[in-house]
Subunit: 253 residues, 3 copies
């Protein structure tokens, strides 16, 4: 029943949340605290990607919350045996949907000390109580209303796909919205694909091309990833999140 | 009996300290390792802020220590059921004072391998022994002498306060030395206050103003915080730690 | 039986690895995730330095792996009661050699979901199984072949040593390949040594010289370290990893 923390607090603030969790005597771990400030979309992607590795019983406590202290709701979402706690701004939605059939609870049993730090005053206490065995249904009422957030999913039509940049990782790898499932019906590793008019070798991993060479690959998330071996595709292709990427899968080996 | 680590080691050095703690079989967690190099004042502020969330029995191990290997003392401080271990440079003092009635012990039972890494060779072993149940009194003698460090506390006189910048967080929020307790006798949320001659709405949280707008709020530490919704007040107001901030609380709603 | 993580993933990727470890129910901790991208040499140095602090039974899981998904092998190395899991690119070699008499096992029992994230799909599961009690010999065959990586060791000849820069830490301290053992036969603290033609006081620690002053000292790794008290020797001496450093230990106090 470990609490996994995901925040955009690259500061001492997670230490305050951990104090709350220690007070409740529950186990916890740092997921990731380096989300760009208020970047709900990126946090939702990271959460969806890593949450699927965790066992049933895990409580994800997410604080990427530009609307802290406003009337946005706080929710606890049960899905697939895991619980997702955080602001109702969509950040939990993709992970909860991927995990199973989500049930949303409005967290109403709360009394924050200040309106500016719900991570410490609302989400950590709620996550702790759930990790300690309290069912989410005791923390608030089930609700059908909640914010949604969906990632674009590119489709291949006539050998071409108009994808988007979904994520850029610390290596500058550019993750797109074209899934391997969709793409690999049309091409195989060893083939060449077109990316924004450039011909790129589609390879299983980075080291299959020489250092500094561009490639297309299937990233950890099983999406088309544009990469440069030991380099930054984000720089090379001047791409950032939300950009359109034209993919051509009619090429051959 | 968890050991909480606070350092300015943004490097592999905490991993060495954790090895020591593993050897002693005690639990530990990362508080924060991103303190600016040698910034005792900021570390003291962060420690004071988060230590109050932790339960009795917690051992705080603090290594922000520009005087490592000199004749500055090493201390273990018992206060309010928690123990604070670190260099005697004032970094522990505000947290220990806030926690209760501190008793200082000089750590004399120590034999560092080198003079440059007391985090590994002195503070982690001492924190581990205390977390394992050894009383601080067995590690050294009680001492009345120790370094102190106090944060400025601004007072409102005739509706005005000369505050200081106490902390700037990763969001660029500017924490001042004017406490909410002192300030909220004079104004309420919804009022306007003057900050360095600018009129700012005093709001419970960031999202109560439009994106990019300035505001005054009460931060997690219950101090007046100057902020920009989804922006950096430190940049907007050109403020850094130690700067003077003129606050006027005579304005009205 | 704690798993210690060392990666160059300054992103959400360690959270995926932790999910795998949670699924296996084993304890784990963050060693360090800030290794420069693909910097096998630096990771090997950090691992060697901190691994020696950990007790027998520790499993080090290392993912600094520019060759992920290529035909480089995956290995588990038993040495001195610890186990080192990672790519066979030399990154484990100095630590395993320092820990005892290493036995290398080729990890052949593996089936990665994608070729781009062996941290999640190969190394974390293997580390988890070993931490849970499975002997490395059950995960693959013992092998005599493996990559090696050795750090330069400077020697003093006629009072002079041609050392190299081994590591630059976050403070800008420059760690050299001249060991304290080799150097301290010739000089004592309080003496002066020559570094690239400059005379530097050799002191036990940074605070023995005034702020902003250069010094030579013995760092946490018991190597000659060039430092500036509260400053950056890497900037002052314009040194980066691999640079040659001329050291003269014929000077006197």
């Amino acid at each position: 029943m470990t609490v996994v923390l995901l925040t955009d607090f690259d500061d001492y603030y997670p230490a305050s949340m951990k104090g709350v969790l220690e007070r409740h005597g529950v186990a916890y771990t740092d997921g990731y605290h380096g989300v760009s400030r208020g970047d709900v979309h990126t946090a939702a992607f990271a959460l969806k990607e890593y949450a699927r590795e965790y066992p049933a019983g895990t409580v994800h406590c997410v604080v990427v919350d530009p609307g802290v202290g406003t009337d946005r709701a706080a929710v606890a979402v049960e899905s697939g045996g895991q619980v997702f706690v955080g602001p109702d701004n969509g950040v939990l939605h993709p992970a909860a949907t991927a995990a199973g059939d989500p049930t949303y609870y409005l967290v109403t049993d709360r009394d924050p000390e200040v309106a500016t730090f719900h991570g410490r005053d609302v989400f950590a206490p709620v996550a702790a109580r759930i990790a300690a065995g309290e069912p989410p249904s005791e923390l608030g009422e089930e609700t059908a209303e909640h914010e949604e957030l969906a990632f674009h999913e590119a489709r291949v039509v006539d050998g071409e796909a108009k994808a988007e940049v979904l994520y850029v990782d610390r290596f500058g790898n550019v993750v797109t919205t074209l899934s391997a499932e969709e793409m690999m019906d049309h091409v195989d590793f060893g083939d060449t694909i077109g990316v924004d008019g450039k011909e790129l070798p589609l390879e299983p991993s980075y080291g299959h091309v020489a250092e500094g060479e561009n490639l297309a690959t299937v990233g950890s998330h099983r999406q088309l990833e544009i990469a440069v071996n030991d380099g930054s595709a984000a720089e090379e292709f001047d791409h950032s999140v939300g950009d359109t990427v034209h993919v051509d899968v009619t090429g051959s080996s």
